[in-house]
Amino acid sequence: MSIDVKPETPVTAARIPVGRTRGIGVIMLVIGLFTALVFGVGSGFSAHSSLTFNPVSLTNAPWRVGTLTLLTAWSNVVLGLAIVALGVDVLARLPRRGVMARFGVVAVLFFFALLLWAARTTGPSQINFVNLTAVLIGSSALAMVLVFGSLSGVMCERAGVVNIAIEGQFIGGAFVGSMVASTAHNFFLAAIVGALVGGALGLVLAFLSLRYLSDQIIVGVVLVTMLGSLSSYLNLQVFTPFPQYNTGNLAPNLPIPLLSKIPVIGPVFFDQTGFFYLMIVLVALVSFGLFKTRWGLRVRAVGEHPQAAASVGIKVIGVRYANVIMGGAIAGVGGVAFMASQGQFQPGYTSGLGYIALAALIFGRWRPSGAVVASVLFGLSVYLADNLQTYQVPVPTEILGMFPYVITIAVVSGLIGRVRPPAADGLPYKRD
């Protein structure tokens, strides 16, 4: 005999309120119209913008391609209308999923229009071209660091521990990374030591929050503050008197034969440092591990419902320790990678990248793949904020620098799509 239980209330999947989706559609429309009118019509119909594709550093130059000159106004009107079209599509169909992805596309189109506008011929600056490859290479270095950071966050938060200390792990990794790279001249060794330091900081976070059930956010913030001050002090005591321990640490590029010769794509993806390739391997590994393996199922169970995991014999505390330490190690390597993209350690030069990585983690919905997309977007916006001065744009660049945070607030508040952290994220677990 089979017993049939009928659902008493209709099963409705969690949904984004229609009003919010509508709101984001309207925001897209506004951005699109702004792009078309200000960046397009506003730049005058005689203005030209040129795009170049050959990287500035020609050590491993790809096959050269020519310059593309566009009519600024019309290009941006087209870009603006494309954004408007995306907005209209969202408004007309009110899709349940993919709203954030669409918003990501809108952001990229907007940045592109902004660049064309900034570099127009009769613009405020003498520079009348955009080196697209240089922009992408520059942002990729930032995006890489953000990916390391948000992957670290994925590892920790999927197991239910919030790692606010990513910024501190960056700093720690960068400091020891510079020291090891300067003395041993070996970036592999530097990465390992960076991972050890990051992992040790992870252990401190895990110990305080798992053993003593301290507030994870507070422990994290304390770690960041401590690392910031400690590294400044040590910098003064060690690196200032002995600059030889903190110099010449630009990681060499390891071009992949042939692939690196492809214009634009080659220099951006296949003529990178070892850290970049390591990042890609890590993304694939974490993604595979979390969603395809037994290990990942257990980690996610611990992050969602630790009591349920414990009831089938999974050691919740053990899983959390392991993940927080591994996450810390990944962030530590990220710190070394950042140092190796700058050539040396400087106090405070991570300037909040660890927090932007956390934002990328949230924007990417606690998924490695999502974190990559968010990191690219945020990396681009941070890069542009830092570099648009050269175009003498009449907009404070700090406004662009706000982008990752504004987006994160919009995402967390549910304005764009709906994010749901692991259910037990940040909650202490106590065996009863």
Binding site: V5, E8, T9, T12, V18, K292, L297, V312, D432
Partner: protein, 504 residues
């Protein structure tokens, strides 16, 4: 499996939760463990399941002394537990939940979803427990979620199944389904230990009944024993299970709800055109399966939820979309459904909780500063009058038992002049003694001329208390009937059927 407990004693500090408990569950037997909340049932289960270690005594499985240092060992040894709060990961699929901890894998530690699905199908078929292995658990109704829990235990080859208060969250239909599952499992040779405080269920299903009280076995009973006998054994004194009420002629309307529409958190119309009146000196009991808009209706009355359209008046005064304070000032007393979330501030004392609704009013406050003497005096008086069992009025309200917490709320709400008293699930999770007490209070208030609106998903309670019974289904009132109406008719109304001539 034959499970035997011999002289199990478990102490927490000076408190003895279990004292020399002997219990034997035979294969193929449904053994009911009956006891009030706080009698030590959960402690005993945790001892069996390896979550706690007994201080004395031993657990024997098939005659062999066994000791589990964690629940994983108990599961491997064939003990399955269906927890009151499901141990399921809501965002996982059924298959992922069932195999968690015992996952079939392929190379590189990859999960073998195919084998997991097959495993579930074979267990499902063997025990007639159909569930889609790929369904996401949180999208399943509660009854099916519980089935997943049972499936999980069975797939780990459980020979003994412990069900901890399994019916607390189920609809009447789901309870029937669960009973059928339990019977068929027992018939296939599984041992079942069924923990509950609900007498009806015990009588319906038990082969053997063990009653525990204050951590000790007070005796065994038969399913044929009367509910009154079982109740007095469980509570330790005679309990009056029926509510005695004198007939009262209702007075003027105190609550009038007209065409009310209220949306739930998802933006759906949870209350969809409800009209209802409550008169002075009558109890209107709102029946219905949970999730049919009762919660939202009460929240709207209490000023905790926005009213989309329609009106609510109390004694002719419109209180639609007023703030909770304005509603309180209009003379409405409210016992909320979730007493720990909306009824109490757990980290405050009993005395403070007793004045939560009138903190700024004389005599409890004067010129913006609190008058603690008056607060304490009020607390002493109410603790005595409402028989609240607490070590002191200054004790944290969180240290009280569920029944006494509820008494604090009832005492607070009834300690000022009211026109209307609204109580949502007033006895949920309470022991028999407290239920009796709360019911008596409600009836005596009604006798004093108060209009009372009770919301309950317990049909027994609705029938015992209501002078009129309104049944709610899918956001609408499907009928208002007399308490003499048969259970079957009310059950039909609960499914939305409009019964002819049901209106009283």
């Amino acid at each position: 499996m034959r499970l035997e407990l011999r002289g199990i004693t478990k102490r927490f500090g000076t408190f003895t939760a279990n004292h020399r408990i002997d219990l034997t569950v035979e294969p193929g037997q449904i053994h009911c463990l009956l006891g009030e909340n706080g009698a030590g049932k959960s402690t005993l289960m945790n001892v069996i399941f390896g979550l706690l270690q007994p201080d004395e005594g031993e657990v024997l499985i098939d005659g062999v002394t066994t000791r589990f240092s964690n629940s994983g060992e108990a599961v491997r040894r064939g003990i399955g537990m269906v927890h009151q709060h499901f141990m399921l990961v809501p965002v996982f699929s059924v298959a992922e939940n069932v195999v968690l901890g015992f996952e079939p894998t392929k190379s590189f530690d990859r999960l073998d979803h195919q084998r997991a699905r097959e495993e579930i199908r074979s267990v499902s078929q063997a025990f007639n427990l159909e569930v889609d292995p790929d369904a996401i658990v949180e999208e399943l109704p509660v009854g099916l979620q519980q089935r997943v829990e049972i499936l999980k235990a069975l797939s780990h080859d459980a020979e003994l199944l412990i069900l901890d208060e399994p019916t607390a969250v189920l609809t009447p239909q789901e309870i029937d389904a669960l009973m059928a599952i339990m019977r068929s499992l027992a018939a296939s040779g599984k041992s079942i230990l069924f923990i509950t405080h609900k007498l009806k269920e015990v009588k319906a299903i038990a082969d053997v009944i063990t009653v525990i009280r204050q951590g000790e076995v007070v005796g065994t009973a038969q399913a044929s024993d009367s509910e009154a006998e079982l109740a007095s054994m469980m509570v330790g004194r005679d309990v009056n299970l029926t509510v005695t009420k004198a007939s009262v002629t209702p007075g003027d309307e105190v609550l009038a709800i007209t065409d009310l529409v209220v949306r739930d958190d998802r933006g759906l119309a949870a209350v969809n055109g409800v009209s209802l009146t409550v008169r002075a000196g009558e109890i209107v009991a709102l029946a219905g399966v949970q999730g049919n808009g009762q919660t939202e209706l009460v929240e709207a009355i209490a000023g905790m939820r926005h009213v989309e359209s329609g009106t609510i008046t109390v004694k002719g005064v419109d209180i639609t979309n007023h703030t909770p304070r304005q509603v309180l000032d209009a003379g409405v007393g409210h016992v909320p459904e979730d007493r720990q979330l909306h009824g109490l501030v757990l980290s405050m004392s009993v005395a403070d909780n007793l004045v939560l609704n009138t903190p700024r009013r004389a005599p409890f406050a004067r010129h913006g500063s609190r008058n603690l003497a008056a607060v304490n005096e009020n607390a002493e008086a109410l603790v005595t009058r409402f028989d609240i069992r607490t070590t002191s009025t200054q004790a944290l309200v969180s240290s009280l038992s569920g029944g006494n917490q509820q008494k604090v709320i009832v005492a607070r709400e009834l300690s000022r002049p009211l026109s209307l008293f609204v109580a949502s699930q007033p006895t949920r999770g309470l022991d028999v003694g407290s239920i009796e007490y709360v019911h008596r209070q409600i009836v005596s208030q009604r006798d004093d001329g108060l209009g009372v609106l009770i919301v309950s998903s317990e049909l027994d309670e609705v029938l015992a208390l209501g002078d009129r019974i309104a049944v709610m289904h899918a956001g609408q009132i499907s009928g208002v009937v007399d308490p003499s109406t048969s259970r079957e008719t009310i059950g039909l109304l609960m499914t939305g059927a409009h019964v002819e001539s049901a209106d009283a």
